[in-house]
């Protein structure tokens, strides 16, 4: 069961690593100081969660790779994050909408995983749940503020929802090779989370005077290593120092 568990941990860890790195691009560039600090903190939480998940992935794999080896020495095709995490940061509305969509997914995922029969996964999930709840509250309040704000903020928020919507379906695709893990109570079936996710999303979008598009084609591929062109560029920036100076300590 260790190979499927390793893959499941990569899916969990890579989502947070890639989204965390993407969010860190706002550091020094956010529209106001408070949001600069907020986005840097959110990025840090994501990378901290990724650190724990990839550390455990390396231990489960048993091949001597630690979290740094997994983060810095895998190519895009070996990454298992959902595509929504790697899309360019876009404007502030895109960043906020993405944190709302993915953060809400994370809350539901951590809630389910905090009951895992695997004590390490349960511990990481219980910890991450508190952080993700905080992120969703921050992002959700901004979705309402932007959507129900000025004509400009409404238009930008609606455009962000339309841009990201086709990438939300992939979050709830349950990989076939995880079925034994789910049956054993080690991981959670993400397809069971979609109903609760959609209910909260609809509620918040309604309050924000925004609408979700109907019947759009859902993109997929990230969980199988088929990524957009954007991930390679992100990894190039994230990995260059570690690859230029392998084994460097500071």
């Amino acid at each position: 069961m260790s190979a499927p568990l390793f893959d499941a941990l990569l899916r969990l860890g890579d989502d947070r690593l890639v989204l965390g790195h993407r969010t860190s691009e706002w550091c020094g560039h956010a529209p106001i100081l408070e949001e600069d600090i907020a986005l840097a903190n959110i990025a840090l939480d994501h990378i901290g969660q990724a650190n724990l998940l990839l550390q455990y992935a390396g231990a489960v794999e048993g091949g001597g790779r630690d979290q740094d080896a997994l983060a810095y020495f895998r190519d895009a095709i070996e990454y298992r994050n959902a595509l929504i995490c790697e899309l360019p940061r876009g404007d502030f509305a895109v960043t906020i909408a993405r944190h709302f969509f993915h953060g809400l997914y994370s809350v539901l995922q951590w809630e389910a995983l905090s009951n895992s029969q695997d004590a390490t996964i349960a511990g990481i999930a219980a910890k991450a749940l508190k952080e993700s709840r905080y992120h969703v509250r921050h992002a959700g309040e901004w979705v309402i503020r932007l959507g129900d704000g000025t004509d400009e903020s409404h238009a930008r928020a609606q455009a962000a929802v339309h841009l990201l919507w086709p990438y939300t379906g992939e979050l709830f695709l349950q990989p076939v090779d995880e079925s034994a893990l789910v049956a054993a109570g080690l991981t959670a079936d993400v397809s069971t989370l979609e109903g609760a996710w959609r209910a909260t999303v609809d509620d918040v979008l309604h309050r924000a005077t925004l609408t979700a598009p109907d019947g759009v084609w859902m993109q997929r591929g990230g969980r199988a290593g088929r990524h957009t062109e954007h991930l390679g560029h992100l990894l190039a920036e994230m990995q260059i120092v570690a690859r230029s100076h392998p084994g460097a300590q500071w």
Partner: protein
């Protein structure tokens, strides 16, 4: 051979690098300590936040503090469950936080609604003038564990420990 209580007393002198008025024991980062048959010490710690950058420094400080006092071997054991909560910070330590200028955390109540339209306003007392006419300026502050507030009475900005 050193007693467990002595080890915890020593660790109570190790300050958090970002909140130097609290020890790592008061903060709840140190969960336990045990002394092995050969006098080696194992300290069980838990991180405050997954990405808390102070954790590495805390680990080194714990190790150094025990090695300096003659402990031969120090092992750090990190646990994630139960998840760290500000409810572990004792009342006396909360008073120290306020005196230092950081509003201490209230009870870590979980809001039932994920995205509340109007949030129940928990009154945070200004650590400078003790007024409760205070406003949340930012959910996030200079460190992962704090939020940014300001006081309408004395006009001072201040940081408050997030209750989680």
């Amino acid at each position: 051979m050193v007693a467990r209580e002595q080890v915890l007393a020593w660790l109570d002198e190790v300050k958090d690098p970002e909140v130097p008025v609290l020890s790592v024991v008061e903060l709840g980062v140190v969960r336990d300590a045990s002394v092995g048959a050969g006098g080696d010490v194992t300290v069980t710690i838990t991180p405050t936040y997954s990405g808390c950058p102070a954790l590495r420094v805390i680990e080194e400080s714990i190790r150094d503090a025990l090695l300096e006092r003659g402990v031969g071997q120090v092992t750090l054991h990190t646990v994630y469950s139960p998840a760290w909560t500000t409810d572990w910070i004792p009342a006396a330590a909360k008073a120290k936080l306020e005196a230092y200028g950081i509003a201490p955390p209230g009870p870590a109540a979980t809001e039932s609604e994920l995205v509340p339209l109007r949030r129940a306003v928990a009154s945070v007392r200004c650590p400078w003038c003790h007024s409760t006419r205070t406003v949340l300026r930012s959910e996030f502050g200079s460190t992962a564990c704090k939020a940014l507030w300001s006081c309408d009475d004395c006009g001072q900005p201040f940081e408050a420990f997030k209750a989680i």
